[in-house]
């Protein structure tokens, strides 16, 4: 029965597009690797939403995400873009399911720059139905992020 309801809820839950913008601080150094991921209420990664940085040899430096991604070996093809240098911004879009809203989940931004440091929870935005499009400041290389549910 549980399985039935699980499947039914999966079939009837619809996908929702979320536009996301990351604005970097003006720092010196290499481009930042930034992973955007869906995390559960415990902060554990559930799914990778986007990766800034397409050279997978450096992925291991995003330690928290690498524990999830390296183990699951899930593909990030199609959801990767270039690294972001100081002062740059990027806009991208990812998809979440409606049933993932208001369940305590969050959208987590984890960043790292070669020789400059690593911020495992640079920004965490609660995933709620009234996802605000206001700026959410970062703690490391990110000045702010903006999310907009389409």
């Amino acid at each position: 029965m549980w399985l039935f309801w699980f499947l039914v809820s999966g079939i009837f839950s619809s996908d929702m597009a979320v536009r996301c913008m990351i604005q970097m601080k003006n720092y010196e150094g290499e481009g930042a690797y930034i992973v955007t991921g869906l995390v559960n209420e415990d902060g554990q990664y559930i799914r990778t939403l986007h990766v800034c940085g397409d050279d997978d040899e450096w992925y291991y430096e995003l330690e928290a995400w690498w524990k999830f991604h390296g183990r699951s070996k899930s593909s990030v093809d199609g959801i990767t873009g270039p690294t972001l240098a100081g002062g740059e911004r990027t806009t991208f879009q990812f998809v979440i399911r409606e049933d993932e809203l208001d369940k305590g989940y969050g959208i987590r931004f984890e960043s790292g720059v070669e020789n400059e440091g690593h911020h495992p929870e640079e920004v965490v935005v609660p995933l709620t139905a009234d996802l605000t499009k206001s700026k959410v400041s970062g703690q490391g290389f990110i000045r702010y992020v903006r999310l907009l549910m389409e």
Partner: protein, 721 residues
Amino acid sequence: MNLPSIWFRRLHRSLAATISVGLLLAIVSGVALSWQATSCHVQEWVAQDDGSKLNVAEVMLDLETSFSALDQMEVNTCGQWTVTGRLLNGDYGSWGLRLSSHELSQAPTTANWVKWMTSLHRSLFLGTLGRMLVGLTAVLFLLLLGTGAWLTWKVHGLGGRGTGIWHVDMGLLLLLPCAILAFTGVAMSADRFGFWPKSSPVHMQTDLVGQRPHHASQFEVFENMSLASLQDMKWPFALEEGEWFEVSLKDGTQLVVDALSGEVISNRTPSFSQRALDWLGEVHTGEAHWFWSVLWFLSSAFTLILGWTGFKIWNSRRATQPKHVERQGTSAEVEIVVASQGGSTWATAEHWAKVFEGNGIRVSLSAMESFRPNAECRRVIFMAATYGQGEAPEHLWAWKDLLSTWEFHPEAKGMVVAFGDKKYLRFAQFGHDLADRLERMQGLHTVLHKVNCRSESDLLHGWIGTLKQLMLSDLALTMKVGRQDGRKKFQLVDRIRSGRMVWLRFRPVVPFDENVQSGDLMALCPPGGSYDRMYSLSIFKDQSAGMCVRLKRGGECSTWLDSLHVGHQFEARIQTNPKFHISQSTQGGATTFICNGSGIGPFLGMIESLQDDARATLVWGVKKRDHARFAEGILGQAMKRGVLTRLELITSQEATSNCKHVQDVFCLDKDLALTSLSTTSRVMICGSHAMARDIESTFQKNHNEAFQATRLAGRWQSDCY
């Protein structure tokens, strides 16, 4: 400042060795990346459409017919446009855009191998450390090019002619492109590590006058901006207050355009240093123009060959490093001093030394840097190679200081044999300078003889001049002289092979001159050979001649002689060798013949020519008893006639007693040694230098007085090789 070239050569070599691995990886990846850049230019040329004539506003308007939301639009180095946004059907992603047809296609991507090569080229997959190594390699590569150019100028001058040395000629051709390539690479590394001079961009900010909302495609700034000048454009996150378009132009200018009003709120023009850096980066990557990418492809490919030729030069020099053995002795009658760059002068010096020693003249052989004149020696020969355009060999850059420490015997005479090449203006200049300085500063009466390109005839003249200057008797120089006239035909009448020796007996088609005697030399040149080889002859009473040939592995002449059959005719020249004739006055006296191996050659004829009561002794060293079989007949007859009263056949490989070498006979039998050195006796030695030296040492050690007396009286005759 005239710095010695050896410093630069060593630096050049050390640099090449130090950066070889890093440079190899950088160049191999560089070849691949320049190929990619070139193919990009080709793609750009093939895909050239009219889109570049459009302005940005027109393109934005056009894109809005396909996209509901736009995020970014950029062009890559191949001139391919990528647009990122959400299509009207809701699909989000990146698409390629062909401007002339407004068609969307799959977004252009960078091939994995290009990413891999880029990472290798940039950082050797070692991150910051790798980038530092690559940067350092580029700096050292510049230095390598500099030292190479300096060496070329120093050694070969600036004549503009080819030197015939691949490494040098190719290096000169590649010097400029490689220098640009290395410099641009260094500039990029310098920027990466903050060494590139930074200056602030020109930044103009404008306050917004008012909000006059327009559609983006109507913004004046986009209407006046040609697509050809655009590098990258990012749309605002939302069309609202406080949001903006980010525009990067190909000239490095960055504009921030208000999302609602279209006013330029920030204009950052890169500083001169930034523009210079950007241009250098584009040149380095070949993005600036196809010319650069093609140039880098060719230069990198040929630089690999350059590295290989450099390695070959180093390796061949290492392999042909002279394995000379200096022979120094206080009792030397002739001192040979060698100033050699590559080792070939040593070969000539050793050859001359052997000829002197073969004639019983004691020789010391020294490298110039380790030479200290023997105060007693009155004959000094300098063999001086010229390096570059007239310099001393590299390691002798301080030769003038060296000379100032020398003191010669007041009556000493010097001969400078200067090697050089007439195509250089300062032909054999070092030898010239050396002779001049020896004469003026050291008071050594010196004669100079120049040898062009080590020609045999020049060398022979040098030899004759040397004998004259040093007041030495006429000695035959068994050297690689060119074929001379006076050849006669001979027919082989008998051949016996014994181990690694072959005994050949032949007759002249025209009878020998009366003067020809055993001990004279036969000059032979094998078919296709370029110079004569000398063999000691036996001349027999029946007008036949014989010679014993030692078969050398790979020996051109000995192999040919071994292949001759009875009846075969060949041409040869007879060269008299009076210093090794058995004199008439000695005939009848006790002669001790000492030889090893094929050194028996002239002795068989000499023994046959002796009278019945000659009471001679023959000490002959061979490897095995069998090897002496060819001489059984002649020696048996001599024993019967009483010409030979004692025959000692020493077999080194079948020795059953302590007698293994010919000198052992004289150690064990002191009476024989003393008889050989008695005032009426004569010693004749023929064979290897090593054997001759051992015999001399033995006599010096045990019977020095008698030995020296024999030598001084000219009763010690030696003809060794």
